[in-house]
């Protein structure tokens, strides 16, 4: 096996002798002491074996001197192959290009895998990294990861820690986001809790600081609810990070108006789409849906249109992601048309909008009482609701300690 491999790399030549000359040929071979391999006997009884390129020629000369007839086959192995194709420059160019591509592909980032993020999306983090020159397609062997991580942390205020590690050509980005309000709770700053809107206090739950309001107090937006500045003795002051819940009765209104005559968006033509291949972060525009190479922007220039972008990554069977994305941007031109609808249709539309707003309201407050009116006035259907709700109106307002501490 090893000898065969060496024979391939250094080149070899087949030699065969007739069965009648076998003993004499072997005797010559023994005297020469040339390393041989691949010894075999053919169906016609000829004995064949392999010798090194130069040894084969010398062996043939020695055999001729001893009166033994040998047959030399053509050279085989890598040197012979290279000699055969030495004038095929295309092959050489292709081999060099292949070697360069393989070499280069091992130095660039093929994929970025982000983990540990909650509030930041994967795309947001990869986009921020790309601003510092790191992303799919960048040469990671030139990347100073310490500098990259520090620069990233300076930019992303809500990220407490980041680590970028390369595993092969995949960049594993691990992040740790700051906890909301976590910085203040560490004791480095102080805060008050103020009212986010007008209301009448129902309950005060203090987790930090000292309550500044009582139940049934009426407060205005911005009023102090829980103070983070605690007086100690006559002249002393202690700062805390005030926190808590302040439940209050607040007034909310929902006002939905749907006119009977409306401007409506009507899409005019078939949609146009433009495909772009993103290869290692480099964009290559391909073709439009019509098959005409070029941009479809010209076809809808000067008209209003909706556009949407969909990006899809190529994934091999087995879940291996390739650094190739197909980005499809779809354009849908439209015109505004005036359309009249019946009162029932307008009411149905108003009701649908009203329900959506009510769901939004219920998600942030508890309704205590509700007054609703439905009326038609000035060519429109109107649904109006006034609700008394129970809501948490506490909002944290941080205090700059340097300013507060100043006399």
């Amino acid at each position: 096996m090893l000898r065969g491999l060496l024979g391939f790399l250094l080149g070899s030549r087949g030699v065969s002798v007739s069965a009648a000359d076998g003993a004499a040929a072997m005797e010559v071979l023994r005297r020469c002491g040339f390393p041989q391999w691949g010894m075999r006997r053919g169906s016609d009884g000829r004995i064949a074996f392999l010798l090194g390129r130069k040894n084969a020629v010398r062996y043939a000369e020695d055999c001729a001197a001893a009166g033994v007839e040998v047959r030399l086959e053509r050279e085989r192995g890598l040197p012979a192959w290279l000699m055969r194709y030495r004038r095929r420059w295309g092959l050489l160019f292709g081999a060099v290009l292949f070697a360069l591509i393989v070499w280069q592909s091992g130095r660039i980032v093929w994929s970025v895998d982000v983990s540990g993020n909650v509030r930041y999306s994967d795309d947001a983090i990869t986009e921020m990294l790309r601003e510092y020159g790191f992303g799919v397609g960048s040469v990671f062997t030139h990347t100073d990861f310490d500098r990259l991580q520090n620069a990233f942390l300076l930019q992303a205020k809500d990220i407490a820690w980041i680590a970028v590690n390369m595993q092969g050509t995949v960049a594993h980005v691990e992040v740790l986001e700051k906890r909301p309000g976590g910085e203040g709770q560490s004791g480095e700053s102080a805060a008050n809790v103020i009212a986010a809107e007008d209301g009448q206090i129902v309950e005060v739950r203090v987790r930090g600081g000292r309550a500044d309001v009582s139940v049934n107090d009426v407060v205005r937006r911005g009023d102090l609810l829980i103070s983070g500045v605690i007086r100690v003795g006559e002249d002393g002051v202690r700062y805390e990070y005030a926190a808590g819940q302040v439940l209050a009765q607040v007034m909310r209104e929902i006002d939905v108006r749907v006119p009977l005559v409306q401007e409506r968006k009507v899409y005019t033509e078939e949609e146009l789409c433009e495909k772009t291949v993103i290869f290692f972060g480099k964009q290559v525009k391909l073709f439009t849906k019509s098959g005409i190479v070029g941009s479809s922007y010209g076809k809808i220039e000067g008209r209003t249109y909706d556009s949407s972008v969909q990006t899809r990554q190529w994934v091999l069977p087995g879940g291996i992601s390739l650094p190739v994305w197909i980005r499809t941007e779809t354009f849908r031109p439209y015109v505004w048309e005036t359309a009249e609808q019946s009162e029932e249709q307008a009411y149905a539309q108003a009701l649908r909008l009203y329900r959506e707003k009510m769901e939004q309201l219920l998600s942030e407050a508890e309704i205590l009482s509700l007054e609703t009116s439905v009326e038609r006035e000035d060519g429109e259907v109107r649904i109006f609701s006034r609700a008394v709700c129970l809501s948490d109106i506490a909002r944290t307002s941080e205090i700059s300690l340097t300013e507060s501490a100043a006399p």
Partner: protein, 104 residues
């Protein structure tokens, strides 16, 4: 399965024989005699070969330091010749020397 048999030449030299007997060391360590190693009946490794006298599918005759060695069998093939060491493969049925014979 390894059946190793060793056949020495006709005689040991005087000094070498004395050393071998005195210290009870292996014979090939103190003598320059030819050796034949048989691995089952599939391969024979012969050292101390001075020439190839006949080479056929059924018998190979070698000239050794202390006479001649005949290997008989079927599909015999010299796998390698390195210096004075020859490897013969095939179905080996017998190994004969000039002074006597050993069969397997």
């Amino acid at each position: 399965l390894e059946n190793r048999k060793k056949s020495t030449g006709k005689r040991l030299g005087g000094a070498a024989a004395c050393v071998q007997r005195l210290f009870d060391v292996p014979m090939e360590g103190v003598s320059s005699l030819s050796t034949v190693e048989l691995i089952g009946d599939r391969e024979a490794v012969i050292s101390g070969c001075l020439g190839i006298l006949a080479y056929g599918e059924n018998e190979i005759l070698l000239r050794m330091k202390h006479g001649r060695l005949l290997v008989t069998g079927r599909d015999l093939l010299m796998e390698s010749l390195t210096g004075g060491r020859i490897t013969i493969s095939g179905q080996i049925t017998a190994v004969h020397t000039d002074g006597g014979s050993e069969s397997c």
